[in-house]
Amino acid sequence: MNLDYTAEDELFRAEAREWLDANVPREVRPPDGPGMRDFDLGWQRKQFEGGWAGVSWPVEYGGRGLSLTHQLIWYEEYAKAGGPNAELLFVGCNHAAPTIMARGSDEQKSYHLPRILSGEVAWCQGFSEPNNGSDLGGLKCRAEIVGDELVVNGSKIWTSSAHLADWQELLVRTDPAAPKHKGISWVICDMQTPGIELRPILIMTAPGHHHFNQVFYTDVRISLSNVVGEVNDGWKVAMSTLGFERGTAGMLENIRYGAVVERLVDMARQRLGTSALENDDIGQRLAQLRAEVTAVRAMTYRIASRAAIAPPGSEASLARAFFSQLQQRIRRIALDIIGPDSIELPDDDPWIRPYLRTYSNTIAAGTSEIQRNIIGERVLGLPR
């Protein structure tokens, strides 16, 4: 075990810090709408132009081809510099691109990867359906092969930012006769294709926010050349993406939370006084959270260490399940520290809306219950 960094690592860190200090946007990120899209894509473009958009992406796709350690250093500096949580980029950079890199055709790679990296386009996901939130194998959205096209009919739900996205990673059932986890295909879908309609789903963070959508497909025609991997092999293609999400994709977010807790510690010291905080209920809980978020960083390092040897497996679900409930406890204590003004929800609010958002974190990417099933069965080997 070691935490040693080479001189080259340290140089990379210094460069990253310098660039971030000069370039991290200082304006408040709009919480929804086209303003948010402009903000996130603009920030991605800026990172791309600075040479920081794809630290660990292969050089051939426009990245720097550096190691996961470099990626981690970048994330650490990003978190320290208070870089924004540009969620709109997540599906493109952390789902679609790795999948296309792993399973896409040369044409798909050369068209999509540069556009994702340079912040030209935003992607959304189309996996969940109204009647099978956690049970991906049971998906029903149909795609018939007609000539050299797929004709899609059905519906997807919980699609984050579909209203702001250019492309969608879409799972469709191409062989209804095949067993549950077969007969599914992973398709690149242009959100401008005729036949696609959106129903915004209003969410609980504030009136008018929608973030989620239901997406309806009526005779939507997609060229067969947009299938990633083989037709009917989409389950495996999707699993590689999900493994990635459960593994390293959350690293940045994990590291960012260290800074969140330190802001809370500062607030609590200001409100209660440093020494009064020691045995105070809030101080004791904050100490626990501080220790836990410190451990999350260590967990991230261990995942990165493992990832250097083998692709992330179900062990990463331990960190994920822990982090999502920790995040909720961290956001929750903010209300106790802020006190009465917690009932306000100002436009530039940094605490209450993120607290409300945590109610989706324990649900997204598999509920806590599903995560615990996975840990019990795949990590511990308990019977189904």
């Binding site: 049970d135 789903i201 009136p207 008018g208 009932i343 109610y359």
Partner: protein, 342 residues
């Protein structure tokens, strides 16, 4: 000794529940297609006044129905279940305070023609002999004539215009109108300190009852959903992970409901123990409302995070009432300092 409602008490519950089912269904709180959220409950007050609900516990010689804290508490559980605007608390408590010193004000409030907002401290409050200074939140005070202030030390009724430096704020609970304002040596129309009488204990008790209603309704919503929503070919309520969550919600609601009933009977006797039992009720009931609100969202899965179901409304309202007159931390600090009541 009997902790179950009498037949007459059950009739009152049924009447209020029926009224609210007809006039305040939960669906009224869904955002419209533009995502806008109104505040539809102002229209309820005159109708509730007609049924006598706003002066239910005020003595008959004060112009009320002369029922006890037990009946008030039972109706507040229903208010919580239906997410009735928390402004109702201003009306009930305001009527009690006014009935003693300002009968015409009390009559106006109980008649439903005069709304009463709520005020709760944003920080330290200076108070001496009925005069109060400090920074406050006003809740549901926009069209109110009076404002009922609750602090951890006192309860007091003001004219709305006594509050100055007003500025509107969006509330975490978007259905409740919120503003900041201040009092400078504002003189209360009527007030009581926490150590005299039962006015202050009644405030905690009714908040507890309202919270119990929230906890019960969050439970009911979760159980209904768990029975019909299927995953992996089975209703999700058949999975222990969900079933046990619902069981924990049921336990929390039962704990709250029992202590609220108990405290209401104590308070109805004007007992010295009222303060202790009302505080205990507030602590367990607000806890239940917060927990059940959060768990209810979780049981609903992804849809629980949306405005398409009511799950999220319960946790937000629970947070709002938590802060009225001091949050759980403040209440627990008071409670641990109180003398034992055995």
């Amino acid at each position: 000794m009997n902790l179950l409602p009498t037949e007459e008490q059950q009739q009152i519950v049924d009447m209020v529940r029926g009224f609210l089912a007809g006039n305040a269904p939960l669906e009224r709180l869904r955002p419209d297609k533009f995502g806008q959220i109104g505040n539809p409950d102002a229209a309820l007050w005159p109708k509730m006044a007609e049924l006598g609900i706003l002066g239910l516990g005020v003595p008959e010689d004060g112009g009320g129905l002369g029922l006890s804290a037990v009946e008030e508490t039972l109706t507040y559980i229903e208010f919580g279940r239906a997410l009735v605007s928390i402004g109702v608390l201003g009306a009930t408590l305001g009527a009690h305070l006014a009935a003693r010193d300002a009968p015409d004000v009390a009559a106006a409030i109980m008649g439903g023609s005069t709304a009463v907002g709520l005020a709760t401290p944003r920080g330290a409050v200076e108070h001496s002999d009925g005069r109060f200074s400090g920074e406050f939140h006003l809740i549901e005070a926009d069209e109110a004539e009076f404002v009922l202030l609750l602090t951890s030390e006192a309860i007091a009724l003001f004219r709305n215009e006594d509050f100055t430096d007003r500025s509107a704020r969006l509330s975490m609970d978007s259905h409740m109108r919120l503003m900041r304002a201040r009092l400078d040596d504002g003189k209360a129309l009527g007030w009581s300190s926490v150590t005299e009488g039962v006015d202050h204990a009644r405030a905690n008790l009714l908040i507890a009852a309202y919270a119990t209603g929230l906890a019960e309704a969050a439970l009911a919503g979760a159980v209904d959903y768990a029975k019909v929503r299927e995953q992996f070919g089975k209703p999700i309520g058949s999975f222990q992970a969900i079933k046990h969550k619902c069981a924990d919600m049921a336990i929390a609601a039962e704990v709250a409901s029992c202590q609220v009933s108990f405290a209401s009977v104590i308070l109805a006797k004007d007992s010295e123990e009222s303060r202790f039992h009302a505080l205990a009720a507030r602590i367990v009931a607000v806890d239940a409302a917060l927990k059940n609100g959060a768990t209810g969202i979780q049981v609903h899965g992804a849809i629980g995070f949306t405005a398409e179901v009511e799950a999220h409304l319960f946790v937000k309202r629970a947070h709002l009432i938590d802060f009225i007159g001091g949050d759980q931390r403040v209440q627990k600090a008071q409670f641990i300092g109180a003398d034992a009541v055995m």
